[in-house]
């Protein structure tokens, strides 16, 4: 089989999430792990790695695309019925089985919510298998919050404890903070660590912009959280997705990894050993 040959997938639905992000439903079933990604092709424009933002327990498959380059701009122009090319799923994904029987602490910043939504959906769909589920979500302001309806619904639910931080206060955020001051605050996502007790038996699942990792990692380390229980998913330039083109390589000296093949999910131990992994 030629791994570089995309197969067609029909676009079922396109939904605006924020002014820069769209949720795209694809008619495809890949039996993926939360945290895995696909290479999405728009013929004539190119291919881009996009993380799958739905759980394999929910159909159809969804991707959340931020308009940031040529391929993602082309994806934003899609309408239902259009076709794209897809390859994958690629990468290791989050170890959902291994984390069963433990608390989950999900930490996400901005678009990092996209891959974590798959983890969250999976855990909610197997709610009995996991203990406490905590979501720490940092946004710039309400207009840029992803999956608004789902997150707001979760804020009122007992299935998951949602903590929210925002950098710019608007009406919605202000009201949320007034309503729930012990879970909502102004500032970056690391500020939320002051509001939660970290169970050292928990597993942490982290995704956010590249700059976020070292600060989040420090919060965990300052609280003596075991690094092997932290799972972080990384962004790099991934052209082939299968460990050949070597654009996404990270590390130096004796520790080098492909983000596409060995990751994109790495542990806190990897962060300690692979130079430059979290900056």
């Amino acid at each position: 089989m030629n791994e570089l040959l995309p197969r067609q997938a029909k676009v079922l639905k396109v939904e605006e999430q924020t002014p820069i992000e769209k949720l795209i439903q694809l008619d495809a079933s890949l039996n993926h792990q939360p945290g895995q990604f696909i290479e999405v092709s728009v013929a004539g424009v190119g291919e881009a790695p996009i993380s799958i933002c739905s759980s394999p327990t929910r159909k159809p498959m969804e991707i959340c695309v931020r308009k940031v380059g040529r391929v993602t701009s082309a994806l934003h122009r899609l309408s239902p019925g259009d076709k794209v090319g897809i390859r994958g799923p690629y990468g290791n994904g989050f170890p959902m089985e291994k984390m069963k029987g433990h608390d989950l602490i999900l930490v996400s910043g901005g678009l990092g919510m996209a891959p974590l939504r798959g983890v969250l959906q999976y855990a909610l769909d197997h709610r009995k298998d996991y203990k406490e589920i905590l979501l720490l979500y940092g946004i710039r302001d309400y207009s840029l919050m992803l999956f608004k309806d789902e997150i707001m619904k979760l804020m009122d639910s007992k299935d998951c404890r949602v903590y929210l931080s925002y950098e710019k206060e608007d009406e919605v955020c202000k009201n949320l903070r007034k309503k729930c001051p012990e879970r909502v605050c102004e500032g970056v996502v690391t500020k939320l660590f002051g509001m939660v007790d970290l169970n050292p038996d928990a597993y942490a699942v982290v995704c956010g912009p590249p700059v976020m990792y070292r600060f989040v990692f420090k919060e965990f380390m300052d609280r003596n959280f075991p690094p092997e229980r932290i799972y972080m998913t990384m962004e790099r330039r991934m052209k082939c997705g299968i460990g050949k083109c070597r654009h996404c390589v990270v590390g130096a000296g004796t520790s080098m990894r492909y983000v596409c093949k060995d990751g994109p999910v790495f542990t806190g131990v990897d962060a300690l050993q692979i130079k430059g992994l979290i900056g």
Partner: protein
């Protein structure tokens, strides 16, 4: 291993047999450089040479190739089934091919590379080393596998090592004779003499750790002359990086997906959409290149090309010796 011998007078007969298999590519002298090029006649080939400008990987991973064509959103693969022969490949380059095999043939295998590799005979040949060669320090001065036939120049004849089924079938031609003890001993002696001519040495023990812990000032000094042009990558037998782009016809209905060699020394290698560059400076990119070549594992085959062709005169071995702290 099976052995045979071939008189040089009979080499044209082998050449004809190879031509019967497929297009033959051999080292040819062009404008003062030796390059692998298609030949029709054995006389065109320069069999005694030191190193080609580009390594033979170009036959398996072309500098540019169309991998897919598309019309609308329907993609069609462009796989090549052409048979070819790569004649006159040195041990270092065969070891380079073996290292690339591990990248492109490991699952999921790259069909384009795999097909070409399967359809191409590799005929090895003993080399003429110069002062830039250091294959003996990186374990690639001898090819134990990765060829169909390997020819050891004994003067008037070749001792031939047979490395594959196809090589075995070729060796059944009447012009191949049985090799005896005398040829074996002579080949071993000449091999020893050839290795003795490779004076350049490099000590790679613990190199990955040294590269990882070299300080900022050290790196700045090491990379001061570097133009970040990527020549070292293009001439390297084990550089695998490639980039992919889509090309459209003018009516924008059809097009092709093309991949090209890329270079980790170029500024945009680790640049992602949105403008973030994970290796923005030449220091980070050199750290990555050296780590890739001699850090996590030894992927360098000691051919010397990156030093010989560097327009800034950067010497790969000297750079690593500086990191070790033993440079002259």
């Amino acid at each position: 291993m099976r052995y045979a011998k071939l008189s040089k007078a009979d080499f044209p007969k082998l050449f004809e047999a190879l031509k019967g298999y497929g297009e033959v590519f051999a080292p040819v002298e062009e404008k003062g450089k030796v390059v692998f090029r298609r030949v029709e006649n054995l006389k065109e080939a320069k069999l005694e040479y030191t190193r080609t400008l580009l390594p033979p990987k170009k036959l398996f991973l072309p500098p540019e190739e169309e991998i897919l064509s598309f019309e609308g959103e329907t993609y069609t693969e462009k796989l090549d089934g052409k048979k070819a022969v790569l004649l006159g490949v040195h041990a270092c380059d065969i070891n380079g091919i073996l290292k690339l095999d591990r990248v492109f043939l490991d699952a999921p295998r790259d069909e384009y590379y795999a097909r070409r590799r399967e359809n191409t005979l590799v005929i090895g040949l003993t080399c003429v080393p110069d002062k830039y060669c250091f294959c003996t320090s990186v374990g690639s001065g001898y090819a134990s596998s990765g060829f169909d036939l390997f020819l050891h120049d004994l003067g008037k004849e070749y001792l031939v090592r047979i490395g594959s089924g196809e090589g075995y079938r070729l060796s059944k031609a009447e012009y191949f004779k049985e090799a005896g003890e005398a040829e074996m001993k002579l080949a071993a002696k000449l091999e020893e003499r050839r290795k003795g001519r490779i004076k350049r040495k490099i000590n790679l023990a613990g190199m990955g750790d040294l590269i990882e812990t070299e300080g900022k000032e050290g790196w700045e000094e090491l990379t001061r002359k570097c133009l970040a042009c990527g020549t070292c990558n293009l001439v390297c037998p084990t550089c695998q990086c490639y980039d992919v782009s889509d090309l459209l016809t003018l009516d924008i209905r059809k097009g092709s997906r093309v991949r090209r060699w890329d270079s980790c020394m170029l500024k945009r290698h680790a640049l992602v959409a949105g403008g973030l560059n994970f290796r923005p400076t030449v220091v980070e990119r050199t750290l990555n290149r050296l780590s890739c070549k001699v850090g996590e594992e030894v992927r360098c085959v000691g051919c010397g090309r990156c030093t010989v062709y560097c327009p800034a005169g950067i010497d790969f071995v000297e750079m690593l010796s500086t990191i070790r702290g033993v440079a002259k």
